[in-house]
Protein backbone atom coordinates (compact mmCIF):
# COMPACT_ATOMS: atom_id res chain seq x y z
CA UNK A 1 0.00 0.00 0.00
CA UNK A 2 1.33 3.40 -1.01
CA UNK A 3 1.26 6.28 1.43
CA UNK A 4 2.46 9.86 1.52
CA UNK A 5 4.01 11.46 4.59
CA UNK A 6 2.19 14.65 5.53
CA UNK A 7 4.08 17.76 4.55
CA UNK A 8 3.41 19.65 7.72
CA UNK A 9 5.83 21.51 9.97
CA UNK A 10 4.86 21.73 13.63
CA UNK A 11 6.73 23.37 16.47
CA UNK A 12 7.79 21.00 19.25
CA UNK A 13 8.84 17.37 19.32
CA UNK A 14 7.90 15.08 16.43
CA UNK A 15 9.42 11.80 15.29
CA UNK A 16 8.83 12.25 11.56
CA UNK A 17 12.14 13.20 9.92
CA UNK A 18 12.05 16.36 7.83
CA UNK A 19 13.66 14.68 4.82
CA UNK A 20 10.68 12.30 4.46
CA UNK A 21 7.86 14.85 4.65
CA UNK A 22 5.76 14.89 1.50
CA UNK A 23 7.47 11.74 0.21
CA UNK A 24 5.64 8.68 -1.09
CA UNK A 25 6.54 5.22 0.13
CA UNK A 26 5.21 1.71 0.60
CA UNK A 27 4.16 0.21 3.92
CA UNK A 28 6.70 -2.48 4.77
CA UNK A 29 5.00 -3.70 7.96
CA UNK A 30 2.93 -2.55 10.87
CA UNK A 31 4.71 -2.83 14.22
CA UNK A 32 1.86 -2.17 16.64
CA UNK A 33 0.61 0.81 18.62
CA UNK A 34 2.76 3.13 20.70
CA UNK A 35 2.44 6.27 22.79
CA UNK A 36 2.09 9.36 20.62
CA UNK A 37 5.49 11.04 21.08
CA UNK A 38 4.06 14.49 20.41
CA UNK A 39 2.04 14.20 23.64
CA UNK A 40 4.54 12.07 25.53
CA UNK A 41 7.21 14.74 25.04
CA UNK A 42 5.18 17.12 27.21
CA UNK A 43 4.18 14.39 29.68
CA UNK A 44 0.53 14.65 28.57
CA UNK A 45 -1.40 11.39 28.72
CA UNK A 46 -0.57 10.01 25.27
CA UNK A 47 -2.93 8.32 22.85
CA UNK A 48 -1.84 4.98 21.40
CA UNK A 49 -1.14 5.40 17.71
CA UNK A 50 -0.35 2.82 15.04
CA UNK A 51 3.25 2.77 13.97
CA UNK A 52 4.19 1.67 10.48
CA UNK A 53 7.49 0.93 8.79
CA UNK A 54 7.52 2.70 5.43
CA UNK A 55 9.98 2.01 2.62
CA UNK A 56 11.01 4.88 0.34
CA UNK A 57 13.09 4.64 -2.83
CA UNK A 58 16.14 6.87 -2.70
CA UNK A 59 15.09 8.45 -6.01
CA UNK A 60 11.79 9.50 -4.37
CA UNK A 61 13.52 11.02 -1.35
CA UNK A 62 16.53 12.66 -2.98
CA UNK A 63 15.74 12.88 -6.70
CA UNK A 64 18.85 13.10 -8.86
CA UNK A 65 21.05 13.36 -5.71
CA UNK A 66 20.42 9.66 -5.00
CA UNK A 67 23.55 7.50 -5.26
CA UNK A 68 21.46 4.64 -6.63
CA UNK A 69 17.74 5.19 -7.35
CA UNK A 70 16.91 1.61 -6.34
CA UNK A 71 18.44 1.80 -2.87
CA UNK A 72 15.87 2.44 -0.16
CA UNK A 73 15.46 4.11 3.18
CA UNK A 74 12.98 2.73 5.69
CA UNK A 75 11.61 4.55 8.71
CA UNK A 76 8.94 4.16 11.37
CA UNK A 77 6.14 6.67 10.80
CA UNK A 78 3.05 7.09 12.97
CA UNK A 79 -0.23 6.58 11.15
CA UNK A 80 -1.39 10.12 11.91
CA UNK A 81 1.46 11.38 9.73
CA UNK A 82 0.42 9.28 6.70
CA UNK A 83 -2.22 9.70 4.03
CA UNK A 84 -3.20 7.17 1.33
CA UNK A 85 -1.56 7.83 -2.01
CA UNK A 86 -3.07 6.89 -5.35
CA UNK A 87 -0.76 7.19 -8.34
CA UNK A 88 -3.63 8.21 -10.64
Amino acid sequence: MKVRVLSQWLPGHVRTPGYLRGKVGTIERSVGTFNNPEQNAYRLTPTKNRLLRVRFRMSEVWGPRAENPDDVVEAEIYEHWLEPFNAS
Binding site: P17, F34, E67, D70, D71, V72, A75, E76, I77
Partner: protein, 212 residues
Protein backbone atom coordinates in the same frame (compact mmCIF):
# COMPACT_ATOMS: atom_id res chain seq x y z
CA UNK B 1 41.23 11.27 45.42
CA UNK B 2 40.99 10.49 41.76
CA UNK B 3 39.88 7.12 40.37
CA UNK B 4 38.36 5.83 43.58
CA UNK B 5 35.00 5.27 41.93
CA UNK B 6 35.96 3.02 39.01
CA UNK B 7 38.57 0.62 37.80
CA UNK B 8 41.68 2.52 36.69
CA UNK B 9 41.92 0.61 33.41
CA UNK B 10 39.39 0.61 30.64
CA UNK B 11 38.17 -2.92 29.88
CA UNK B 12 38.19 -2.19 26.16
CA UNK B 13 41.58 -0.49 26.09
CA UNK B 14 40.12 2.85 25.02
CA UNK B 15 40.99 5.93 27.07
CA UNK B 16 38.45 7.07 29.62
CA UNK B 17 36.95 10.48 29.08
CA UNK B 18 38.38 13.27 31.22
CA UNK B 19 36.76 12.66 34.55
CA UNK B 20 37.62 12.31 38.17
CA UNK B 21 41.01 13.99 38.29
CA UNK B 22 40.19 17.03 36.14
CA UNK B 23 38.59 20.27 37.23
CA UNK B 24 34.95 19.84 38.10
CA UNK B 25 32.68 21.12 35.32
CA UNK B 26 29.32 22.85 35.63
CA UNK B 27 27.57 19.83 34.08
CA UNK B 28 29.26 17.40 36.45
CA UNK B 29 28.06 19.53 39.35
CA UNK B 30 24.57 19.35 37.87
CA UNK B 31 24.77 15.54 37.59
CA UNK B 32 25.79 15.20 41.24
CA UNK B 33 23.07 17.64 42.31
CA UNK B 34 20.27 15.94 40.34
CA UNK B 35 21.35 12.52 41.59
CA UNK B 36 21.61 13.55 45.23
CA UNK B 37 18.31 15.48 45.17
CA UNK B 38 16.47 12.53 43.59
CA UNK B 39 17.92 10.21 46.23
CA UNK B 40 17.09 12.60 49.10
CA UNK B 41 13.52 12.95 47.82
CA UNK B 42 13.14 9.18 47.60
CA UNK B 43 12.60 9.04 43.82
CA UNK B 44 15.63 6.82 43.24
CA UNK B 45 18.22 5.03 45.36
CA UNK B 46 21.99 4.97 45.09
CA UNK B 47 21.79 1.19 44.75
CA UNK B 48 19.43 1.49 41.79
CA UNK B 49 21.86 3.80 40.03
CA UNK B 50 24.83 1.53 40.61
CA UNK B 51 22.82 -1.54 39.59
CA UNK B 52 21.79 0.18 36.35
CA UNK B 53 25.42 1.11 35.61
CA UNK B 54 26.46 -2.51 36.23
CA UNK B 55 23.66 -3.77 33.98
CA UNK B 56 24.73 -1.48 31.12
CA UNK B 57 28.40 -2.34 31.62
CA UNK B 58 27.55 -6.02 31.27
CA UNK B 59 25.87 -5.49 27.89
CA UNK B 60 28.18 -5.68 24.91
CA UNK B 61 28.30 -6.59 21.22
CA UNK B 62 29.24 -10.12 22.33
CA UNK B 63 25.53 -10.64 23.14
CA UNK B 64 24.54 -9.86 19.58
CA UNK B 65 27.38 -11.99 18.22
CA UNK B 66 25.93 -14.99 20.04
CA UNK B 67 22.53 -14.35 18.45
CA UNK B 68 24.03 -14.10 14.98
CA UNK B 69 26.15 -17.22 15.39
CA UNK B 70 23.11 -19.18 16.54
CA UNK B 71 21.09 -17.90 13.58
CA UNK B 72 23.86 -19.00 11.19
CA UNK B 73 23.87 -22.54 12.58
CA UNK B 74 20.20 -23.07 13.47
CA UNK B 75 17.68 -22.31 10.68
CA UNK B 76 14.70 -22.57 13.06
CA UNK B 77 16.26 -19.95 15.34
CA UNK B 78 17.04 -17.71 12.38
CA UNK B 79 13.41 -17.89 11.31
CA UNK B 80 12.26 -17.09 14.86
CA UNK B 81 14.71 -14.17 15.05
CA UNK B 82 13.41 -12.63 11.83
CA UNK B 83 9.78 -13.24 12.87
CA UNK B 84 10.15 -11.69 16.33
CA UNK B 85 13.66 -10.72 17.35
CA UNK B 86 12.62 -9.52 20.80
CA UNK B 87 11.04 -12.82 21.73
CA UNK B 88 13.85 -14.93 20.23
CA UNK B 89 16.42 -12.84 22.10
CA UNK B 90 14.58 -13.19 25.41
CA UNK B 91 14.18 -16.93 24.89
CA UNK B 92 17.94 -17.15 24.49
CA UNK B 93 18.23 -15.69 27.98
CA UNK B 94 19.06 -12.03 27.34
CA UNK B 95 17.36 -9.40 29.50
CA UNK B 96 16.62 -6.66 26.98
CA UNK B 97 14.00 -4.93 29.11
CA UNK B 98 11.08 -3.40 27.20
CA UNK B 99 13.07 -3.00 23.96
CA UNK B 100 11.26 -3.76 20.68
CA UNK B 101 13.81 -5.43 18.44
CA UNK B 102 13.76 -6.17 14.72
CA UNK B 103 16.41 -8.34 13.03
CA UNK B 104 17.23 -7.53 9.40
CA UNK B 105 18.90 -10.14 7.25
CA UNK B 106 21.69 -9.33 4.83
CA UNK B 107 21.72 -11.50 1.72
CA UNK B 108 23.62 -11.66 -1.56
CA UNK B 109 21.17 -9.08 -2.94
CA UNK B 110 20.52 -6.80 0.03
CA UNK B 111 22.76 -4.98 2.50
CA UNK B 112 21.11 -3.28 5.49
CA UNK B 113 22.54 -0.41 7.52
CA UNK B 114 21.15 1.28 10.64
CA UNK B 115 21.11 4.93 11.66
CA UNK B 116 19.08 7.19 13.92
CA UNK B 117 18.85 10.59 12.23
CA UNK B 118 16.74 12.15 14.98
CA UNK B 119 18.90 11.22 18.00
CA UNK B 120 20.92 8.11 18.83
CA UNK B 121 18.50 5.16 19.08
CA UNK B 122 20.47 1.92 19.25
CA UNK B 123 19.78 -1.62 20.54
CA UNK B 124 21.59 -0.67 23.76
CA UNK B 125 19.72 -3.18 25.91
CA UNK B 126 21.41 -5.92 23.90
CA UNK B 127 24.67 -4.46 22.54
CA UNK B 128 25.49 -1.82 25.19
CA UNK B 129 25.97 1.87 24.47
CA UNK B 130 26.53 2.99 20.87
CA UNK B 131 29.95 3.97 19.52
CA UNK B 132 30.71 7.69 19.38
CA UNK B 133 30.56 7.87 15.57
CA UNK B 134 27.02 6.47 15.59
CA UNK B 135 25.93 9.54 17.58
CA UNK B 136 27.85 12.00 15.40
CA UNK B 137 26.21 14.61 13.21
CA UNK B 138 28.27 13.38 10.27
CA UNK B 139 26.98 9.79 10.38
CA UNK B 140 23.40 10.79 11.20
CA UNK B 141 23.25 13.39 8.42
CA UNK B 142 24.93 11.39 5.69
CA UNK B 143 23.85 7.76 6.15
CA UNK B 144 20.38 8.37 4.69
CA UNK B 145 21.50 10.36 1.63
CA UNK B 146 24.85 8.84 0.65
CA UNK B 147 25.03 5.44 2.35
CA UNK B 148 27.42 4.01 -0.22
CA UNK B 149 29.91 6.80 0.36
CA UNK B 150 29.56 6.40 4.12
CA UNK B 151 30.05 2.63 3.84
CA UNK B 152 33.15 3.17 1.71
CA UNK B 153 34.61 5.27 4.54
CA UNK B 154 34.13 2.19 6.71
CA UNK B 155 35.94 0.13 4.06
CA UNK B 156 32.88 -1.45 2.44
CA UNK B 157 32.20 -1.28 -1.28
CA UNK B 158 29.06 -2.75 -2.85
CA UNK B 159 28.31 -3.06 -6.54
CA UNK B 160 25.21 -1.31 -7.84
CA UNK B 161 23.29 -4.60 -8.16
CA UNK B 162 23.23 -4.97 -4.38
CA UNK B 163 20.41 -2.96 -2.86
CA UNK B 164 21.37 -0.82 0.12
CA UNK B 165 18.58 -0.50 2.67
CA UNK B 166 19.08 2.24 5.22
CA UNK B 167 16.93 1.88 8.34
CA UNK B 168 16.25 5.11 10.20
CA UNK B 169 15.34 4.25 13.84
CA UNK B 170 12.83 7.08 14.05
CA UNK B 171 10.53 5.78 16.77
CA UNK B 172 10.04 2.73 18.98
CA UNK B 173 11.85 -0.07 17.13
CA UNK B 174 15.49 -0.98 17.55
CA UNK B 175 17.42 -2.92 14.93
CA UNK B 176 20.12 -5.53 14.69
CA UNK B 177 21.52 -6.79 11.43
CA UNK B 178 22.00 -10.45 10.76
CA UNK B 179 25.13 -10.31 8.58
CA UNK B 180 25.59 -12.55 5.56
CA UNK B 181 27.70 -15.50 6.66
CA UNK B 182 31.14 -15.55 5.00
CA UNK B 183 31.62 -18.68 2.88
CA UNK B 184 34.89 -19.55 4.60
CA UNK B 185 33.20 -19.69 8.00
CA UNK B 186 30.64 -22.35 7.05
CA UNK B 187 31.02 -25.47 9.16
CA UNK B 188 32.50 -23.76 12.21
CA UNK B 189 30.85 -24.20 15.60
CA UNK B 190 28.47 -21.65 17.03
CA UNK B 191 31.08 -20.56 19.59
CA UNK B 192 33.74 -20.13 16.89
CA UNK B 193 31.36 -18.22 14.64
CA UNK B 194 30.52 -15.73 17.41
CA UNK B 195 34.13 -14.53 17.19
CA UNK B 196 33.59 -13.57 13.56
CA UNK B 197 30.72 -11.20 14.34
CA UNK B 198 31.79 -7.62 14.98
CA UNK B 199 29.75 -4.79 16.46
CA UNK B 200 29.99 -2.90 13.18
CA UNK B 201 28.67 -5.88 11.21
CA UNK B 202 25.51 -5.79 13.36
CA UNK B 203 25.05 -2.05 12.59
CA UNK B 204 25.71 -2.66 8.89
CA UNK B 205 28.96 -0.70 8.52
CA UNK B 206 31.18 -3.78 8.74
CA UNK B 207 31.33 -7.40 7.63
CA UNK B 208 32.03 -10.50 9.71
CA UNK B 209 35.71 -11.42 9.65
CA UNK B 210 37.96 -14.12 11.04
CA UNK B 211 39.09 -13.46 14.62
CA UNK B 212 42.49 -11.78 14.86
Amino acid sequence: MPHDHHEPLSPSGHPYRADDDRDLTYWQVMEIAVRELLIEKGHVSATQIQDQINTMDARSPANGARLVAKAWTDPAFKYALIEDAGQATREMGFDIGPMHLIALENTEEVHNVIVCTLCSCYPRNLLGLPPDWYKSRAYRSRAVVEPRKVLSEFGLEFNQKIQIRVHDSTADMRYIILPYQPADSVGLSEAELANWVTRDSMIGVGLPRPPA
